[in-house]
Symmetry: C2
Amino acid sequence: MHAGEPMPPGDGVGGRDVIAAAHLDESTAASVAATLQALATPSRLLILTTLRQSAYSVTELATAIGMEQSAVSHQLRLLRALGLVTGQRDGRRIVYRLYDNHVAQLLDQAVHHIEHLRLGLRDSD
Amino acid sequence: MHAGEPMPPGDGVGGRDVIAAAHLDESTAASVAATLQALATPSRLLILTTLRQSAYSVTELATAIGMEQSAVSHQLRLLRALGLVTGQRDGRRIVYRLYDNHVAQLLDQAVHHIEHLRLGLRDSD
DNA sequence: TCACCACATGAACGATAGCTCATGTATAGC
DNA sequence: GCTATACATGAGCTATCGTTCATGTGGTGA
């Protein structure tokens, strides 16, 4: 008798069933959280969604987003360490792009779900 | 083998094509980032993945995860404000559960993608 | 009504994040 | 070689986060 009922959270919105985030141990939770941190800040989210359209150099990114070069570089370092983007020299520039399709999908789905969630938000309490 | 090419993001795993995180304006980026912040911390991630299995009261959650009741309550307040969980009285307890299926899917897909990403991570630089 | 339980909430504190500023490193052109 | 460009990096500052501690609020049963 935990909480009343087992209550799987499905009221039928999506219908599509992914296997599970079932039961994370603390270390997995920490590592997943660390990667999600990368998506959890406006600046990095802008960097990633910009890179999702096409590859960009650091300066191009900075101007496109409206951040300073140094700030962008710092964030790119982080994103690289997390395996979300890769950089490749081209002359004196370094062209960054998303690491692979998983990153693009993670981005898309996150934005997709969150838009739906925000639509369902009432000013209840 | 996957880091080199351009990448139209529709080809891969799911087959289901979400529209795109295409070009976020700053305010959308901020709001999406705010929601993702909720998944970006070990404690909240543990709370959410626990609630994904079934509904729990605050005290149950606290013991299950190994946090203090106050800390859990603080985080639940945040998660509630973001529309990720809902609470409902049952006697003197308040039973929390995920708000809807979008939350569950967001959780699942995030964990799923990130596990794949972490598998592809080498100790490069 | 009174004690008790479950949860919420405000204040305070240490830790961390993201930015700017200044400087270092690598490539290209002269 | 020298200079300019493009990017990386370290130090430092401020703001914010997540936690704990103490206290408030609401429901329950004697």
